[in-house]
Symmetry: C2
Subunit: 303 residues, 2 copies
């Protein structure tokens, strides 16, 4: 089959959800346009931004960094080494290699050095690894952005991630989470930096194809703690529907965004206060990161 755009080269990427198929060069053009349109639509980034790209070492975040560099944004990579045996080392290695190939050096936070590697912290405070990981990431994103003067924090969430999260929020009719599900979370004065998801219009298959065709090396294994994640069940259910009705996932998420952007009753979050212990933005007296560190340290003292 020939590429549907140039009609010269053989198609390399089949896109049933767009009823199309492209050769590598035309696919890059398509991908770039999708990301550009995703950024433009909700004004996620402007040329003057200093963007911190959160890179896990997986395909989505490295593809995000790659395309933002290509689009000419000023970026730095930020990686959190979660302290998970084997997996974290391999992930960090991919980040370092990709960064080096672009003449960059990523900022790295090392949870083992901070005394809160995720597996140990999870056992000590008896909370799920994924919940802890979320707390830790939110903390570092804001802290590093504030310390280093980043104006936006970009994460690699793609269309499949966002559609699965939307389905989960709808299945539990979680109005609070629904009201905050958006590719753009604006800055809130008091230390909460703007968060953006520039890949919200591209599917997981599309970022995988982009990464493969660009020769980006990424960690292919899933985080060992994500195996039982409910988000994977939602993804599987949506994949089943997408296979029978290509394009449904896109219609679903874009329809939700269109319906929600018309509503004015979504309350803006108030400004946070400052953590009594570390000064980080928080809605409680001590931030959840400091409480976590204290709990882990306390538990270690007792055992």
């Amino acid at each position: 089959m020939k590429c549907r755009r140039c009609r010269k080269t053989d198609a390399a990427v089949d896109l049933p959800s767009h009823n199309s198929a492209f050769c590598p060069e035309c696919f890059f053009l398509f991908f770039r346009r999708q990301v550009t349109e995703g950024i433009r639509k909700f004004r996620l980034l402007s040329p003057g931004d200093n963007v911190m790209v959160c890179v896990s070492g997986g395909k989505d975040s490295l593809v995000l960094w790659d395309i933002l560099i290509e689009l000419g944004y000023r970026t730095e990579g930020f990686h959190i080494d979660l302290g998970i045996d084997g997996y974290s080392g391999r992930s960090r290695d991919k980040v370092l290699r990709y960064a080096a190939s672009r003449g960059k050096e990523p900022i790295v936070a090392d949870l083992r050095a901070e005394g809160i590697p995720i597996p140990e912290a999870s056992k000590r405070v008896r909370r799920e690894e994924c919940a802890l990981c979320g707390t830790v990431k939110r903390y570092y994103f804001n802290r590093v952005a504030a310390e280093r003067g980043f104006t936006a924090v970009a994460t690699g969430h793609n269309l499949d991630d966002e559609a699965a999260r939307l389905l989960g929020n709808l299945l539990h009719w979680d109005e609070e989470h629904l009201s905050r599900q958006h590719p753009l979370l604006p800055e809130i004065e008091g230390g909460l930096v703007r968060k953006v998801k520039p890949l919200w219009r591209v599917s997981e298959m599309e970022t995988a194809a982009y990464g493969f065709l660009k020769g980006i090396e990424y960690v292919t294994e899933e985080c060992p703690f994500s195996v039982d994640a409910t988000s994977l069940v939602y993804k599987e259910a949506l994949s089943l529907i997408e296979e029978k009705m290509p394009g449904t996932r896109r219609t679903f998420y874009q329809g939700f965004l269109a319906a929600n952007s018309m509503k004015s009753d979504v309350p803006a979050n108030p400004s946070p206060g400052s953590c009594a212990s570390c000064g980080a933005p928080t809605y409680t007296e001590t931030c959840s990161f400091c409480r976590l560190k204290e709990q882990v340290t306390g538990s270690r003292g007792r055992s």
Copy 2:
């Protein structure tokens, strides 16, 4: 395993979504309570109602008729013979046999006798069978209710049906259909009778278990035209989630109803006018049923 309620008899019906298991007698009690609560919650029916129960011959509608009789409601069965070779005869037969077992005689509309059997009509007007079937049913429900003085029309839609329909409406973010998805559609002056779905709280597995344990004979085959129905894809996706997270389907639909019943911005439908040809309630000059009949007759004259 013993019944979780009486703890005497062996459990016959396993209900993971309720984290329970019942013997037949306790299951009947559970089922009756679910239906009673479903009726009470939205005031679907009152003791003075004269209820027309729409019976296809499948398990849900015959179980609905059975439980409404048992709960003491004044009911008559209404069946539409769709004129589908084999399937319609077998379905009608189940309805007649069940009715006879309760000393009743159902009202029957025969689409072959009316000159619009679904398969032929579909070919002649080039519209999908399921769409035509919907038009025909809506027409007869209102007409027969008006002619015979029924105050409510009850259909056998269960929780799985409603959750699948809700998922489809959400995936396409269909605000109009979402605003009208409810176990109760109130009467609208001008000929639109109240429509109710008393089984909205019970799952398909539960109606199947009730039908089996009560010895109700029903047609087990699906309508031959439903094979490609998108609703089956949505059901499959929800079953996949339900299996991993029992109870999600119930949380989903009940959460939606709770959230929507708080909103006051759902516009009430205006009163319909009367069809210029047959007098049936309609929002256009000639009702869609008359237009369908005319198209089929016209096409037959030409061929």
